[in-house]
């Protein structure tokens, strides 16, 4: 798996997880990701919007026009059932990978 794939996969997973609590618009999702990762990930629009469109095209998100809390027109994204399943599967995968890497790193440090 290439590096960009890894990064892309990570961003996708973060976006999907950001939407588990409910629909949100682009800026809201970016803020939520920042908040979830305690500021470690800053999502810029150049990667956020292509990722959102890609996920929608795969049928994992649906998009609909709505009003923000300040009553501005914005596009809201929502998880589909397939998207929810995918998010869960990817979360499990990620846990396994990160555990494996964690173990490997520990090995190296202890050696």
């Amino acid at each position: 798996m290439s590096r960009t794939d890894l990064m892309r996969g990570t961003l996708d997973l973060l976006i999907l997880r950001a939407l588990i609590t409910g629909p949100n618009h682009g800026l809201g999702i970016a803020r939520r990701v920042e908040q979830m990762t305690q500021g470690a990930f800053r999502v810029n629009p150049g990667s956020l919007f292509p990722a959102l469109h890609r996920l929608a095209q795969k049928g994992w998100l649906t998009a609909e026009w709505g009003r923000s809390e300040t009553n501005r027109k914005a596009k809201f994204y929502e998880l589909t059932p397939a998207g929810r399943r995918h998010a869960e599967a990817e979360t499990r995968n990620w846990r396994r990978v990160s555990l494996a890497i964690e173990l490997a790193l520990r090995d190296v440090e202890e050696a």
Binding site: H25, G46, F49, Q57, S68, R72, A74, H86, R96
Partner: protein, 905 residues
């Protein structure tokens, strides 16, 4: 390896396919996507600015920093467009790869394309036919308001009306119908431009017929009420669009020209619209003329004949009138006619009202068309299913072959989605090829059908062009079939974990699941082909039965000529002299052994002629007051020419003249029914309505089939032509030469006597009799063709399965043979595996066939739906073919030298 990326869930494949599809759709909505993207990014920017302002920035500063953060509007848009874009290069690569892979295996490609093409071709052809007969809408204005009115009698349901009855219905129902109009089918004699005459079908229509249906002229005008006022006073015609195209080359100058029809000049006032092809589907008339011209066109008296059944009546319901009200109104008219004891009005007569949309052609014919069309559709659907299962079976085998290749690609990092897409592309290519080949096949089949020389009782002109919706249907079927059939194998072949497939497993048992799926397909094929073959068997038996029926006349080679002596041209005496001259001329022809004439030859499906009669000493039936018999007028020579024997009494003679005692010859069945020992000679038959001048029975004739081949012997009364004139006569000429040749000789000789001879038909006796056998013959032919096709496809499928099993077990066979098993034993073992499928498929097929045969009952001729010969014989044929298909590959395996077998791999 079982890492996160090596085995994506089915959901991932589905999402990739969806992604591909959306990109494809996006090609057609680029502008909308662009607008949405603009709006979305603007919205984002506005929200961001708002947030920054809330945090204390000035609006100006907030906007500037937000734009910087966005990182260039155009760049973000371009990145998003990348997501939406359809990558044509990918599709091109897939298609090229697919073509390469198909070309690499020409045999596989040929078999797959051919079997699917046959299924698709048959389907398209049949669908076009059904479309032409059943589905295509009649081009009528507000068709839901239009009804057909029929005459319902004890002897014949849903018949046409006579002119007087039509007028009574029209005048007595004006409170429920806004219009009542009628059309009569008329064979008309037309002078050709280059000399000679041609017989065409025309329609004589009442003045408001075309306006009521909303028919508008493509050129000139339609016929109007003002064209239909006085008898014989309106020699005008509207041409049918197709006839105008073929006979006038679509020349607009045709309007206003004169045509000579039945010896009179008619002015063409217009050309009908292209989509209106007359009153009856499949019987496109050449032109329409006013009904007031019908007597002249036919050379017969019609307008005052209450007993005639000639007019197809249509009516338009007034707004808000429901069918029951209309039925009550026509019922009142019939009741009045019965009460008034109108002469020649059958007191059992009723008028029936049927919505236009419920009638295809004509209710008595529809009864046969609907089940026949259903049967045809079912059969071709089964054949398509069969072709699809065959294709699926092939694809499965292919998927097994390719597992290693796919595993290598997966190991090298190809994504599963792209592989699936690639395989699907290949299958879709295959389906499209088959769709194209099938369309070609369908065009050819339709051409065959359109030009087939079927012994139809009337010239049928079905519009059998391949329509756009039919083509779309075919392509849809082939693409859907291909995608579905390709998807299963594609998913299966990309599933195996890489390491497992890379290990050699060609000697192993293969994937049991896939072999099992293939077995299911073969069982399905065997089942379908058995059902089709049993259907074919039943119809073949039916055809055999029909052919073995002795019609009771026309057994010897003979030729037939039907001609008319129009009342408008000949007085009765002139007609008799004219007819005698013609018959005398025919007797002189070389090879002609006997010549006779009859008003209506037996087994003509189009016309019937009956008499109501009573016999002294026999109580009339209570419901009707008289007995029914079929009736015909014959000349002295008829019985000898037709091969009907006079079993008692005498033939007619020259002494039976108009001024002597009226005489009759009756059928044996009738004689036996009414007189002890059938001794009818010298007895009297009293025709109803004319009881004072009874017919003296002078002879009894052997029975012949009159209406259908399946009937029990009927009451038949022959009257002498010399005492009862008929305007239409069918000449039967028994010949020792080729009847085809004699038929032509009759026509030529007739034209020599009178160049204007009005000929209605010229054919051989065989062809006349073939009309009645046609339904059985056609069904037997079509079902046999499809049955054999199905059997072949199933045999190929079975052959493939056994071959595959054999190739999987080559090493096992080697070991067994090395250990001393003989070849025969090995063959038995391998064949047994295939036969298990045959037994299961056979049992299922028999069960289905038992059920299906019951539905066929109405279409069979004197064959039990559980005909033992068929139900035993056909499965044996199937078993033999299946045994052969399984035995061939098995024998090959047993011939392999043990050492070679052990060395495989």
């Amino acid at each position: 390896m079982s890492g996160p990326a090596s085995r994506p869930a089915a959901g991932v494949v589905a999402s990739r396919l969806r992604d591909f599809a959306v990109r494809l759709v996006n090609l057609f909505r680029r502008e909308r996507l662009e607008r949405e993207l603009d709006a979305e990014l603007e919205g984002y920017l506005a929200l961001d600015v708002e947030e920054r302002v809330r945090r204390g920035m000035t609006p100006r500063e907030a906007r500037r920093t937000a734009l910087v953060h966005l990182g260039g509007m155009e760049m973000v848009k371009e990145l998003c467009r990348d997501v939406h874009r359809f990558r044509a290069a990918d599709l091109g690569r897939d298609v090229r790869g697919g073509v390469r892979s198909l070309v690499r295996r020409p045999a596989f490609t040929a078999v797959a394309v051919l079997s699917l093409a046959v299924g698709i071709g048959a389907n398209t052809a049949i669908f076009s036919l059904v479309n032409a007969v059943i589905l295509r809408d009649t081009p009528v204005e507000r068709p839901e308001e239009v009804v057909n009115v029929y005459l319902h009698q004890a002897s014949f349901a849903h018949g046409p009306l006579s002119y007087p009855s039509f007028e009574d219905v029209r005048d007595g129902t004006s409170d429920v119908f806004s219009h009542v109009a009628a059309a009569q089918l008329v064979p008309a004699q037309l002078d050709r431009a280059g000399g000679g005459v041609e017989m065409v079908l025309a329609e004589a229509v009442t003045g408001d017929y075309l306006p009521m249906l909303g028919v508008e002229a493509a050129l000139g005008r339609t016929l109007l009420p003002s064209d239909d006022v006085s008898r014989g006073g309106h020699p005008v015609a509207m041409l049918d669009y197709q006839y105008w195209q073929s006979a006038f080359g679509g020349d607009p100058g045709a309007v206003g020209r004169e045509m000579r029809i039945a010896g009179r000049a008619y002015t063409v006032v217009g050309v009908g619209p292209p989509d209106f092809t007359g009153t009856m589907r499949g019987l496109a008339p050449a032109f329409y003329a006013p009904s007031m011209m019908a007597e002249e066109l036919l050379g017969a008296r019609l307008f005052d004949a209450r007993g005639g059944q000639v007019l197809f009546v249509k009516a338009r319901l007034r707004p808000g009138v429901a069918l029951p009200q209309a039925e009550a109104a026509v019922g009142a008219v019939a009741a009045q006619l019965t009460r008034d004891r109108i002469e020649n009005w059958d007191p059992t007569g009723q008028f029936a009202v049927l919505p236009l949309t419920d009638v295809l052609l004509f209710p008595p014919i529809d009864v046969f068309i609907r089940p026949a069309a259903g049967l045809l559709m079912a059969v071709v659907a089964l054949v398509l299913l069969l072709a699809c299962t065959n294709l699926a079976s092939f694809l499965l085998a292919r998927a097994l072959d390719r597992r290693k290749e796919v595993a290598v690609r997966l190991a090298l990092g190809a994504s599963r989605g792209s592989l699936v897409r690639r395989l699907l592309t290949e299958t879709t290519l295959l389906s499209l090829l088959a769709g194209a080949a099938g369309t070609g096949l369908a065009v050819w089949l339709l051409h065959l059908l359109a030009t087939a020389d079927l012994p139809l009782p009337i010239p049928v002109a079905l519009d059998l062009r391949l329509e756009r919706n039919v083509l779309a249907f075919t392509l849809g079927v082939s693409v859907v079939a291909g995608t579905l059939l390709g998807l299963v194998p594609a998913l299966q072949s990309t599933r195996p974990d890489v390491s497992g497939a890379l290990r050699s497993e060609s000697s192993g048992g293969g994937q049991p699941g896939q072999l099992r799926w293939r077995n299911v397909l073969v069982i399905a094929q065997l089942t379908i082909s058995l059902v089709l073959l049993i259907g074919a068997g039943l119809f073949l038996r039916s055809f055999q039965q029909v052919q073995s029926v002795d019609p009771g006349f026309g057994r010897e080679p003979s030729a037939i000529l039907t001609f008319l002596t129009p009342a408008t041209r000949f007085t009765p005496d002139e007609a008799r002299v004219y007819t005698r001259r013609l018959l005398d001329r025919f007797r002189e022809l070389p090879g002609v052994d006997a010549v006779g004439a009859i008003s209506r030859l037996h087994l003509d499906p189009l016309t019937q002629s009956t008499s109501d009669f009573n016999v002294a000493g026999v109580e009339p039936p209570t419901d009707h007051g008289a007995f029914h018999a079929d009736q015909a007028q014959v000349d002295l020579g008829f019985f000898e020419a037709a091969g009907i024997e006079i079993v008692r009494g005498r033939n007619f003679s020259d002494a039976d003249r108009p001024d002597t005692q009226p005489v009759a010859i009756i059928s044996e069945a009738m004689a036996r029914r009414f007189w002890e020992d059938g001794d009818a000679v010298g007895r009297l038959v009293r025709p109803r309505g004319d009881e004072s001048s009874p017919w003296l029975v002078v002879g009894v004739a052997s029975d012949a089939k009159v209406r259908t081949l399946g009937e029990a012997p009927r009451n038949m009364i022959y009257l002498p032509y010399s005492q009862r004139l008929t305007r239409s006569l069918t000449v039967v000429a028994r010949t020792s030469m080729d009847p085809q040749h004699t038929a032509l000789a009759l026509l030529t000789a007739g034209r020599e006597v009178d160049p204007d001879l009005w000929v209605l038909a010229s054919k051989t006796m065989d062809r006349h009799l073939a009309v009645m056998r046609l339904p059985q013959q056609l069904s037997a032919f079509v079902l046999s063709a499809f049955g054999v096709l199905a059997l072949t496809l199933a045999a190929v499928g079975l052959y493939g399965v056994v071959s595959y099993a054999v190739s999987q077990r080559t090493r096992e066979v080697g070991i067994r043979m090395a250990l001393g098993a003989d070849g025969a034993r090995v063959v038995r073992m391998l064949v047994a595996g295939g036969l298990r499928l045959v037994v299961i498929g056979g049992a299922l097929g028999l069960a289905l066939a038992f059920a299906a045969a019951r539905l066929l009952g109405g279409l069979l001729f004197e064959v039990d739906t559980l005909d033992p010969l068929t139900f035993v014989g056909v499965p044996l044929v199937l078993a033999a073919a299946a045994l052969l298909a399984a035995w061939l590959p098995a024998r090959r395996a047993s011939r392999v030298h043990p050492v070679t077998a052990l060395r495989t791999d």
